[in-house]
């Protein structure tokens, strides 16, 4: 019977690959699955992720901007209010997307859709699944960032070619949040606990110099906000958007590199807890 014996050599070859304890070097298959599923997934959800920051930009930047007028950007450049908040909104959207994909999405697929249960019964290891999901989140982030930057261009908010670098920088920011988010999800058991994530994210969104400069706060609050990741993302993109670079720019990048490293250590250390309960 051919169903039972066809291609023995092919399956033997697949088995004789080298495997790690938690890894089969097959992240590709997880990414391919994600892309295939996107084809049939809900386009409204995808589009809303793109439109959210655009709507903020139009309502706050254009609407509020009419009252505010111009503000001082990085390095003392005078820019429109819309141009001031646009990079911040991009940083926020990179954060939101990455956090959503690495926490709620992973939690749901783990506990309800049972998608990972199916994957983990194959020769995929938890690390393949984790890296694949992070990569998919970054791909999506890349798409949104490109779209948003294009919108900024159309609205006349881009004045320097450096601004294109906001796209890879957004991916860097997303990577920082996604690597941490997945590690944190491994500690979550219920939906109530998942709500704590929003509890941390919302204040970060509102207070990280997103809509007005940090200088309005007393010093100790400034320190607190500067310790938070989003502020570094906002500042990084803002500096890139006007092409004003300093040592601070390098420090922001460094902050994210460290965050990614720590996040990946946390996530890989928690893989068994996350996927193999």
């Amino acid at each position: 019977m051919s169903v039972m014996t066809a291609g023995r050599s092919v399956t033997e070859a697949a088995r004789s690959r080298t495997f790690g304890p938690l890894y089969s070097r097959n992240v590709r298959a997880v990414v391919a699955r994600g892309l295939m599923a996107t084809k049939s997934s809900n386009w409204m959800v995808m589009l809303s992720g793109f439109f959210e920051p655009v709507l903020y930009l139009i309502s706050m930047g254009v609407g509020l901007g009419a009252i505010v007028g111009t503000v001082q950007g990085p390095g003392g450049t005078v820019i429109s209010y819309a141009a001031y908040i646009a990079p911040a909104l991009l940083a926020v959207s990179a954060m939101n997307g990455a956090v959503y994909d690495s926490t709620w999405n992973v939690f749901f697929k783990m506990n309800f859709a049972k998608l990972y249960q199916g994957m983990l019964y194959t020769s995929l290891g938890p690390l393949d699944v984790a890296l694949g999901e992070i990569l998919l989140a970054l791909l999506r982030g890349l798409m949104y960032a490109t779209g948003f930057t294009a919108v900024m261009g159309v609205m006349g908010l881009i004045t320097t070619p450096w601004a294109v670098l906001m796209i890879p920088a957004s991916v860097l920011i997303a990577f920082g949040f996604a690597s941490f988010g997945m590690g944190i999800t491994s500690f979550m058991k219920t939906f109530q606990q998942m709500d704590w994530i929003n509890f941390v994210m919302l204040p970060m969104f509102l207070f990280s110099a997103t809509f007005y400069p940090l200088s309005v706060y007393p010093t100790y609050i400034q320190w607190l906000i500067q310790a938070m990741p989003l502020w570094h993302g906002v500042e990084l993109l803002r500096e890139i958007s006007v092409g004003s670079f300093s040592t601070a720019t390098a420090l922001h990048v460094l902050y994210y590199l460290v965050m990614i490293a720590l996040g990946m250590i946390l996530t890989t250390g928690r893989l068994r807890r996350l996927f193999l309960r």
Partner: protein, 320 residues
Amino acid sequence: MSGVSNDDSHDHSQRYVISATNLTKKYGDFTAVDDISFHVPAGESFGLLGPNGAGKSTTMRMIGGVSQRTSGSLSIMGLDPEQHGPEVRAHLGVVPQQDNLDEELKVRDNLLVYGRYFGLPMSYLKPRADELLEFAQLTDKAKAKVDALSGGMKRRLTIARSLINEPSILLLDEPTTGLDPQARHILWDRLFRLKEAGTTLILTTHYMDEAEQLCDRLIVVDKGRIMAEGSPASLIREYSTREVLELRFGSERNATVGAELEGIGERLETLPDRVLVYAHDGEAALEQVHARGLHPLTSLVRRSSLEDVFLRLTGRSLVD
């Protein structure tokens, strides 16, 4: 069989494709699998039989390396599934108790994508997927979405999917639940063929006929412990009589009539809906019942089955 010490586990891994020694799984304070040991040689068809909550699925998950054991040792083809998960699972085909098909993908894509997880090339997977769709009688549903399938169709797709990598060990957790009788017999036939081709089958089931048909050897588990181990025939010989007389006196009287039947056959079992008389000769036992002036509404003599072994060992009926 049980009570194998740890130091000869190396020797076991040579002869056995699956070797579990003092395997234990706790969820908090609750012990789901309690110190069980079993050893399965290559090509054997091995069954786990037990009531709901016995720990069968938990054991299956530990074999697949997707659940971490609390203590004991486990070796699959000489490897610890916890330390070599991907490598062990490259040899496994798994039919979980609950279908976990990829609802976002179409039927055929489910097979292709699953094959990719094993690192198999598309040139192999495409014809293989078509063969398996044929096998699962789902060829005309190839382009359908998974959630458009009936429960039994999903089950068949899950079973087909488990064969995509030509596994040398097939884990089947209640594979035929939800299948109609025809689909079930087709599956049995396929499983026989796989067994003939050398595949090791690990099977849980609530259907005694299935266990008797498919299992060379099985363990009866209850509350995480092994109650008995052996071939279906040897278990029936050991734990039951040759024949069983089933008597129904009506639901009111079944319980009270037990005392009056005392002494007939070797053993009595009173269930809510019937009384079972275990006897070497069922007809003779029925004559004795009549001689005592008792007249059941219906009576039936049958051969002992695993069902009776199960009832004897766990005090519970398996039919559900």
